[in-house]
Symmetry: C2
Subunit: 413 residues, 2 copies
């Protein structure tokens, strides 16, 4: 069933490689205008999704993710304009080699081709992901969740109309309207046409894609982020950073889920951290020594150290050395973001070098792991794998490269 | 069964990240010495493999791939010394961002971690692949074919002895001695410990790995390479380049398998190409117009255009325009290497830009797609996918990166 869609996407990707960036930017700005102009269409489609959610008895947190408000719609439009204003990473000379035999080799950035994206709720992903793929001249096949299918259809219809209005192939953006499990499974096997598959959603979705896809995947998302309080940590800084990383926004992948504390500061710094966290409603699950050091902690199980709570809960592990801290973190982290609070430069460097994560921080909150905070201008997601792209992915993560080799009759001897 | 090996590899990768490059280089040079010193061990192990191959009635071409001669052993030793002399791509500052809030972000190259390699015959792959992984501070799990298991065991024993002699963890290099299908299948699912899987071998092996691996894979190898003879091609150059690309070495992935010819040169240039190829024993399988243009051609079937012959056979497709040529190539190529022979600069640029391949050539043989020819000093393989690495992969293809972020108390508002 998706075979046809794959063929259309491949053809579209080829045509898209011919488009001028100025034209692409104009189309993106047109889409921003049309999204607001056709607001009623979008909101009434969204109302269908919301009614369905109500019927299903969905929690208010989940319903909130589905909801499109005026403000959120403006946000989507603003996102489109922002992507239009970014420099294109495509067609750049990345390297140049002049060979002794006279061959001139240019390494040049190119689009990846066809990108598939499988995601759950949040209809803004439809617009955001399309914009990033379009800007980098990749055709996209979107497979959103059933919960927001009506909103997604309305958004895609507007995008496709704008493509047509600009004399472009509307198949630069295709939405899989069948939201059954089997359509997702089929997409995962479409390696004949799709060059890259990005899952955006919870751990379960990502695991399913990794296990079943025959298309190269970029894993995004899960973050069991640690903060290690070193023996030389500044007390006020530790309290402030841990508070921020744990409580500023609890449902995000760069929130802190686990505290690692040097035993020498259990009685000096740790109580202040606990007092502050508890005041903010955080449940603290500690090992034996942590529980002894401060009243009111819950006993942590081994399982707690591997969990991404996404909630007002934090685990605590006590260690006797920096190396023990690093080994604990490498055992339980998800390769996302981990931080050390320290005044010792040698310890800072050791931590940054040897903790195996996309982002290793010294004296700052893990919450900064984000494409915008890094200054990339846009973000496709945060990669927790080591191939192709790691950490916050800007536009260039959606490019590949090719070698163009200029000769004048060279043959290999 | 491989669980234990995975754990050891992960531990080894962590230790390897602490090693100094000078120490790694010394160990590589020691291995070169030991390979030659312990020649008898290697040759008698290889004799076992050769006897087994004889018993199985293996073809002489296949037997030749297994054979270790004095010269080939010297080649392996030389390879080790060469890798020792290359600059390490690890620990390099790739980028630096100074953020308005004072955060300093360093993007730094790091090892990937644990690399699995599944390969077929040719025992030199054992030494080559280990050397490249070791130099880039990645622990490796090798799964060679059953045909050369005795040779592989002997080679790995020497490598591991040299690691120990240098006070290093011998598990930087592990060989799976069980060469059953199930050991390969198990390795493909070891994503808990293995960060990257590289299959090196025929199309069947690569397909199996792509379809079954839960570990990120880099596809290498298959090359259905095209040469397009444009209407403005230089006749002598076309004959010379096609001869070289087709006949200089037929069993390699960068050999030319398919000719695309502009109809306007069917009577002027094409006969000279055919004459030359036939003189060299090449069977030419052409479409109708090609068969009419020169006597003695075989009628090509549709299937011929998709085949990587690795033999003295070439297919020919006649086209009426450059765009038709590019579309034909994009339909049948494997994204490896394709060339245009032309004197028209505009056509050259169009071809280079729009043929979707790792390497697009103008007026040169496709045989140059090779890490050494590109000046990379070493080669892990030639990637035909677009993620992470494309085309000839030098040492840097075996690295990832991480962000190290230095703060002084920053929190996110």
């Amino acid at each position: 069933m998706l075979e046809k869609m794959g063929q259309l996407a491949k053809k579209a990707a080829y045509e898209l490689s011919f488009e001028e960036t100025t034209h692409i930017n104009k189309a993106l700005r047109d889409m921003a205008v049309q999204l607001l102009k056709r607001k009623d269409e979008i909101l009434s489609a969204n109302a269908l999704d919301m009614a369905q959610a109500e019927e299903k008895g969905m929690s208010s947190a989940l319903k909130d993710r589905l909801l499109i408000t005026d403000k959120r719609l403006s946000g989507m439009a603003e996102g489109l304009r922002q992507v239009a204003s970014l420099e294109s990473p495509v067609g750049k000379g990345l390297d140049f080699y002049n060979r002794p035999n006279g061959l001139k080799i240019i390494k040049k950035s190119v689009p990846i081709g066809v990108i598939g994206v499988i995601y759950e709720s949040r209809p803004n992903v439809t617009v955001d992901v399309f914009a990033l793929c379009f800007k980098t001249q990749n055709a996209v096949i979107l497979r959103g969740g059933s919960d927001c299918i009506n909103s997604n259809k309305a958004l895609c219809a507007i995008i496709r109309d704008c493509l047509l209005m600009n004399g472009m192939n509307e198949d630069y953006c295709q939405l899989i309207e069948d939201t059954s499990r089997s359509s997702a499974s089929e997409l995962m096997k479409l390696d004949k046409y799709v060059d890259l598959l990005i899952p955006r959603g919870g751990e379960g979705l990502i695991r399913t894609v990794v296990e079943n896809s025959t298309i190269p995947v970029i894993e995004t998302g899960t973050g069991n982020c640690h903060i290690y309080v070193d023996s030389t940590a500044d007390k006020d800084m530790a309290v402030k950073i841990i508070n921020n990383a744990k409580t500023q926004r609890i449902g995000v992948c760069n929130a802190c889920e686990s505290l690692v504390i040097h035993s020498s500061v259990l009685s000096s710094i740790f109580p202040a951290i606990c007092e502050d966290l508890m005041k903010n409603g955080v449940e603290i699950r500690g090992d034996e020594r942590a529980c002894e050091a401060y009243p009111g902690l819950v006993q942590a199980s081994e399982e707690d150290y591997g969990r991404e709570y996404l909630d007002l809960i934090i685990s605590v592990k006590t260690v006797d050395s920096l190396t023990e801290a690093v080994e604990h973190i490498n055992k339980y982290n998800t390769g996302h973001s981990d931080a050390i609070i320290t005044r010792n430069q040698k310890n800072a460097i050791y931590f940054m070098e040897h903790v195996d994560a996309a982002c290793t921080y010294v004296n700052a909150s893990t919450r900064f792991t984000d494409g915008f905070e890094f200054g990339f201008g846009a973000e496709i997601g945060i990669s927790t794998q080591k191939l192709h792209a790691r950490g916050p992915m800007g536009l260039s993560a959606l490019t590949s490269y090719k070698y163009q080799i200029l000769g004048n009759g060279q043959i290999r001897e």
